[in-house]
């Protein structure tokens, strides 16, 4: 079981959370202006890395807030969590 550090509640068990996939995907300002490739890229294409991953979690059975986590998808080790709207502490990966 993962132990996930909610930025508001501290370390809690994975079963209190739901997963929200890749973080920092920004909805295009003007979708109408995009071609199909760019729209498909936004909607469907994912980094899905084997290694460090910036991802969203929802503390659904706790404070009910969304936040971001940097976690390694191979070792499952969680490096840190940070609030929505913030950038990951040590820059991009």
């Amino acid at each position: 079981m993962l132990e996930i550090p909610c930025p508001w509640c501290g370390l809690r068990c994975e079963s209190e959370f739901s997963y929200g996939g890749e973080a920092h995907i920004v909805r295009p300002e003007n979708p109408e202006a995009l071609n199909d490739e760019a729209w498909a890229d936004y909607l469907f294409m994912r980094k899905n890395p084997r290694g460090p991953h910036l991802e969203q979690w929802h503390h659904v059975y706790g404070c009910r807030r969304w936040f971001n986590v940097k976690r390694d998808t191979l070792s499952y080790r969680i490096e840190c969590s940070y609030r929505v709207g913030e950038q990951p502490p040590e820059g991009e990966i």
Binding site: L43, F44, P49, R50, E55
Partner: protein, 417 residues
């Protein structure tokens, strides 16, 4: 030359204390240049190589596997085989695979222990039963066998199933596909490997692809931990690692890799002679010929490549199985493991060309590709050989995510396996 497995050869080799059997496949050193290099020695990759040789006469082929063949999802899955998918595109593809299964042990001269013991998909509420009715009707229009079974009949057929209206997960009925069942996972990898090898295909284990070399957007070969291997065409068939290989080739995929867990119990006397699946509570169960209960779960929600998942998923699936089969409440589980499944937004595979010329991909089978192993290999071999899709996999192109022609099997045909 391959020794045929027959009663006569069994007796003949028994006289020699079984020391005279030839290895089922060779372990050659990698060659310098192949017409086709298949990356990934799971069932799908090996089946692709087999049909490339058998159906298209392309035998200068290598299958590169970073570990041992069948050590990925092929050797980790719960082996449920069925073809009762809702939409035409999916139904036709899986049914073609089912037809291949029905003659495969003979074709490969290898006992795949394919057992058409039937598969039930349970309905737990009225909407489940309406969806089941719709899916069975769609299946029958597509020439796929199916039957709607009500609760009373279900209890008669599976007496140990808890159909009491007071149970945690009431069972109102099920869909039943009599031709569904199970097969021995390892044997599928070994049978296709032996078949492909007999045509001259090189199966190279402990060979990890770490780069895909291109000149002017055209593939020329692959970098591996055992050096560069030249290739006219490359087929990527690496299941959970598809995004990694796509990254090496320089394109993106609509895939998320997730752990999927399964477990087996201590061996029991025969108690369950069919396969029972509940998509609503994510529990799948059958009994192997050895006697162990084989239990499959739903995916772990997070992206993961660790070939293991989290405990709450195991707890959830066992709670569901125990509610459906109270008789199993004191069975002890023996082993537990995870594989890495490659899920797509529409729960359908991606089979076809990629943005890199000469590179083809077969992935996105997610939680349910074992049943498709022969069919997947068959259509992918066609796609590689003819440089265009077979009519069965035309709809499953990567381009469908751009054009919007998704095939929404998610939920419709039962989420998993």
């Amino acid at each position: 030359m391959m020794t045929k497995y027959s009663f006569f050869n069994l007796v003949r080799n028994a006289l020699g204390h079984h020391e005279g059997w030839a290895p089922a496949w060779r372990s050659p050193e990698p060659g310098k240049q192949y017409d086709v290099v298949i990356i990934g020695g799971g069932g799908h990759g090996l089946a692709t190589a087999y049909y490339l040789a058998k159906e298209h006469g392309i035998t200068n082929v290598a299958v590169l596997e970073k570990g041992w063949i069948g050590g990925g999802n092929t050797g980790r899955n719960t082996t449920i085989v069925r073809s009762n998918y809702l939409w035409d595109e999916a139904a036709h593809l899986y049914e073609a695979s089912m037809k291949l299964w029905e003659g495969l042990s003979q074709d490969l001269n290898f006992n795949l222990m394919f057992s058409q013991r039937g598969v039930y998909n349970l309905g737990h509420n009225l909407q489940d039963m309406r969806d089941i009715r719709r899916r069975v009707d769609a299946n029958r229009l597509n020439g796929i066998d199916g039957e709607v079974v009500d609760g009373i009949e279900l209890k008669r057929r599976i007496p140990i199933l808890n159909t009491s209206p007071n149970s945690r997960y009431p069972v109102l009925g099920a869909s039943f596909q009599a031709r569904g069942g199970t097969a021995r996972h390892d044997a599928v990898a070994w049978g296709f490997a032996r078949g492909a090898d007999s045509f001259g295909v090189d199966i190279i284990q402990q060979c990890e692809v770490i780069g895909i070399r291109q000149v002017n957007g055209c593939v020329t070969g692959v970098e591996t931990n055992r050096g560069f291997i030249g290739a006219g065409k490359v087929g990527i068939v690496v299941a959970g690692n598809s995004s990694v290989l796509a990254g090496l080739a320089g394109f993106r995929l609509p895939i998320s890799s997730h752990p999927l867990q399964a477990l087996v119990s201590e061996p029991l006397k025969p108690v369950l002679d069919t396969v029972v699946m509940s998509n609503a509570v994510h529990g799948y169960i059958s009994q192997s010929d050895k006697g162990d209960l084989v239990v499959g779960a739903g995916i772990d929600s997070f992206n993961g490549y660790g070939q293991r998942g989290s405990f709450p998923v195991i707890e959830g699936v066992l709670a569901a199985i125990k509610a459906l089969f109270p008789v199993f409440s004191r069975v002890r589980m023996n082993r537990q493991w995870g594989g890495i499944v490659d899920t797509t937004p529409d729960a359908c595979p991606i089979i076809g060309r990629t943005p890199v010329k000469g590179v083809y991909i077969n992935c996105g089978w997610g939680t349910g590709g074992f049943k498709a192993t022969p069919g997947s290999g068959y259509v992918f071999a066609h796609t590689l050989a003819q440089e265009r899709p077979h009519s069965l996999n035309e709809a499953f192109s990567l381009e469908r995510f751009t054009s919007g022609h998704l095939i929404d099997e998610h939920g419709a045909a039962g989420v998993a396996h």
